[in-house]
């Protein structure tokens, strides 16, 4: 790594005195490969990949983990996290994960899906996998559009939001209403932990990591399906800078998709918050 850019700090403490292994507080987890991510600058996918990799490493389940990648920008997730992966057809990740989890009861199986994948073409698969209470974790990245294909309208696109296929904004008379699919899933008795998080601030990332940790633990304890929605940005699709996209998300997405836990119980019970 390049150290030339840093200069002397104030007092007698030289920068080289700080950069010692015993002072290390944060570094890239070893589960993330050295392959540079293909995501656009500032994309939320990178952060969610990172916290998943950190958790799998910290919980010591690397050998048992199987991820099911979606169709979408995260289709290349297998290049970045050093665990077993399976690629599924568009929207069918929960069905593929069901098969993997049933034949490998000791494995930690998770799907990683976007909103076009999970809430649109895969709506049936996700509903039935959650209703069956499969012991899988579903990580749902909700950025309000189809990011990979050029920013078309998704079921989660906000009312009035301009996308490639709604150049005058989403019209609810014509296109229907933005779907809060996580709220629907929280109604299903097969789910154990359903929550909505965001990763636009450092605090949000830490909270999301705690939620994902709980979700992974629930899957390991065979409590049923855990579902973690991450409200995310697609700054390229939204035509904003990464920082402006984070601000736009906070002002527009989070009021419609409020953060917090929606259900915290075990499968078969209906105790919703």
């Amino acid at each position: 790594m390049e150290l030339k850019e840093v200069t002397k700090t104030e007092g007698t403490m030289d920068i080289q005195d700080i950069l010692k292994p015993e002072n290390l507080v944060y570094q890239k987890t070893k589960l993330l490969t050295d392959t540079p991510m293909h995501y656009c600058p500032g994309c939320s996918h990178g952060v969610v990949h990172k916290i998943l990799a950190e958790l799998i490493d910290e919980m010591g389940i690397q050998e048992r983990s199987v991820g099911v990648a979606p169709v979408g920008c995260a289709v290349f997730a297998y290049n970045y996290i050093d665990i077993d992966w399976q690629e599924a057809a568009h929207g069918r990740a929960p069905a593929v994960a069901t098969g993997i989890a049933r034949v490998n009861p000791d494995a930690f199986v998770f799907t990683y899906q976007g909103d076009g994948d999970l809430a649109s073409i895969g709506a049936a698969e996700i509903m039935h996998a959650c209703n069956r209470g499969e012991n899988i974790l579903v990580v749902f990245i909700n950025n309000g559009i189809y990011g990979m294909t050029g920013g078309q309208m998704a079921p989660t696109t906000l009312e009035g939001m301009v996308t490639a296929t709604t150049p005058y904004g989403r019209n609810t008379d014509l296109n229907g209403y933005p779907m809060r699919i996580t709220n629907l899933i929280a109604q299903l008795p097969g789910t154990s932990y359903v929550t909505r998080q965001a990763v636009h601030t450092a605090g949000g990332v830490r909270k999301c990591k705690r939620a994902l940790k709980k979700a992974i633990q629930n899957v390991l304890d065979k409590k049923g399906t855990s579902f973690v929605e991450v409200v995310s940005t697609c700054n390229s699709g939204w035509k904003l800078s990464p920082v402006a996209a984070n601000k736009w998300m906070e002002e527009n997405m989070i009021p419609y998709y409020p953060l917090g836990d929606m259900k915290d119980s075990v499968k078969g019970e209906h105790s919703e918050n």
């Binding site: 390049e2 840093v6 500032g42 996918h45 990172k50 990464p242």
Partner: protein, 75 residues
């Protein structure tokens, strides 16, 4: 009195210059460099290293995990 001081190391070839870390830094330590890396991105660097407290917010929000954070106490 002991004072917490920190330092970050940005892997400038990995950095994509999204500036999310610049926004996340509570002490305005980081900024985007005038120069670009081999990918053509203005990479992040410590503009005011003396202000860093090693809170690791930059590393936590970095989507490309190119920031390593160190923290110690100076007497």
């Amino acid at each position: 009195m002991a004072r917490v001081i920190g330092a970050v190391v940005v892997d400038k070839e990995e950095c994509k210059g999204c500036s999310v870390c610049v926004d996340a830094c509570p002490h305005d330590v980081l900024a985007l460099h005038f120069e670009v890396n081999s990918k053509g991105y203005h990479y992040s660097y410590m503009k005011s290293p003396e202000a860093c407290v090693g809170c690791a917010n930059c590393g936590v929000v970095c989507p490309d995990t190119c920031i390593t954070v160190y923290r110690t106490k100076a007497s």
